[in-house]
């Protein structure tokens, strides 16, 4: 009796999970079948499968539009902003974590940097764009620098906590061997930080890649500068009637991140969890 009940419970559980999978997959499935239809096919039925595997819409976008360049732009921005983040934040976090107790400067600096976590982007949005426009920074390098600056608060918070957990004896040994502080940091500390570096890279990388508001504010004036999200946004605006075409742009703008996700799934999930649970 109780065995039967248990079995029913299990079935209900799987049913629930499978319904969830369908809810997640269905919009994506619809997107893909729609993008393979012609406008005539679509007007007949939204739900029917396409009559044949028709990749014309995809090919049209891939060859005759801004798509390749926007992928390259997004990649450039994500790579350089991520590298910049990893160059700037561990250094300052190391200085803070190791000198905070002796020197007031680093203690104040720590709280000064942490204060930014609570300030939402919208409050600095308008003046930030003014500053960038005055400094002639409404372009890709400018956006990269602003991304690095915006990642500092949270990054310092995560790294300082992590560095404080690393025993100081290693550094003392290096110090006795005569290593300079810079070499100790580069050769000993930085490699030890790699779990936190993975977390920071993934969190920020996904943000840089998928962000819409900052590119909209800084790069929307010319298609030469567009990122994938801007491409997606503008594409929708210019192809208002050709639905299959619009739908074909969805998988294409998701494609790079989907491929990345399939290969890096464990790392991505682990990285995003690390920061919030153990940090």
């Amino acid at each position: 009796m109780s065995n039967k009940l248990k079995k029913m419970k299990k079935t209900a559980l799987y049913l629930f999970l499978i319904i969830g999978v369908i809810i997640i997959a269905y919009p994506i499935y619809l997107t893909i079948i729609t993008s393979m239809k012609t406008p005539q096919e679509l007007s007949r039925s939204f739900f029917a499968l396409p009559e044949r595997l028709n990749f014309d819409n995809f090919i049209a976008i891939l060859t005759d539009s801004d798509y390749p360049r926007t992928v390259l732009n997004t990649l450039t921005i994500t790579v350089f902003a991520s590298l910049g983040t990893i160059a700037v934040i561990p250094m300052v976090s190391y200085a803070i974590a190791r000198s905070m107790r002796e020197k007031r400067y680093y203690k104040y600096l720590y709280f000064f940097l942490l204060a930014g976590i609570f300030v939402p982007f919208t409050v600095k949005m308008l003046p930030l764009i003014k500053v960038m426009s005055v400094m002639n920074m409404l372009n890709i390098p400018g956006l990269v620098i602003v991304y690095i600056s915006s990642a500092i608060c949270e990054g310092v918070f995560l790294y300082v906590a992590f560095i404080q957990g690393i025993p100081i004896e290693l550094e003392e040994a290096a110090y006795i061997d005569g290593a300079t502080t810079r070499r100790t940091f580069v050769n000993i500390i930085f490699p030890l930080l790699s779990p936190m570096t993975a977390t920071v890279l993934i969190k920020n990388g996904l943000w840089f890649w998928n962000d819409f508001l900052l590119p909209l504010l800084t790069l929307n004036k010319s298609p030469d500068y567009w990122t994938l999200t801007l491409f997606q946004y503008n594409f929708k605006m210019t192809h208002a009637i050709n639905y299959p075409m619009i739908f074909a742009a969805f998988p294409l703008s998701m494609l790079p991140i989907m491929v990345f996700y399939v290969f890096m799934q464990k790392k991505i999930i682990g990285g995003l969890t690390n920061g919030a649970v153990k940090g």
Partner: protein, 293 residues
Amino acid sequence: MKKKKRITERNITMFAFSVPATVLYILFFIYPVGAGIYYSLTDWNGLTNNYHFIGIKNYVSVLRSSRFQNAIRFNFKYTILLVVSIVGLSLIMALILNSKIKAKSFFRGVYFFPAVVSMLTVGLIFNEVFFQVLPPIGQLLHIEWMSRSLLSSSKTAIYAILITNVWQGIAIPTVLLMAGLQNVPQELVESASLDGARKWNIFKSITFPFLLPVLTVVTVLVIKDGLTIYDYIVALTNGGPGGATESTALLIYNHGFKEVNFSLGIAEAVIVTVIICFISFIQIAFSNKKSVY
């Protein structure tokens, strides 16, 4: 003598390490925030060269404007709905995915997938889903509110945005809560169930207190998302119909960049920041009291 030299070397390097981040932070964070607060006390429209200092006039007119009040009301209602749906659903999902089931990593992989896609793309896809997919189903089943697009009525548009947001937004909270469940000591759970404690009581007095820190992180994240929502609204309604879904972030954007009312937009932003800080502060103070750590 040599030792002194090395201490100096260490001090100089440490200071050099702290310079790049500090400079960037001051230039692109502190300065814009400070300048913003200053401009919010002027009548600058964002374009002209001259402006006047007008004190707190902007703040007064923001607090009086019905458009701002509507936006705040929208944000609050939306945030409450969002917190209830996302925290509730992701807790259920995490408990299920953490129990002994087969194909755990498959389910986890699928459920997490929406988190890596851009909010804008998700919003645009759901825009089409609301226009093309739901109405035929509604007509078929004779459900009145479903037979038109949810987005076309000022009453239902907020739920359309909510559905979209939940579809994507439960992914990260679910994974965070799953990780949080690893912190719950299994010995306690096992001995409690050997003593015959009921499942609900085990959850209430063992699992929940240990989960609270992560639950707090999740709630703070979701509250912040709700209060600053922007991307979905641009993709789904652009503030319509009739301004029913104009969030504060969209209003600030509209005032600053579309309606040439820069200083007013910043005053709105400052007020929103104060609200967000206040809420996060209460939230964190409250859960610190209850946490087991």
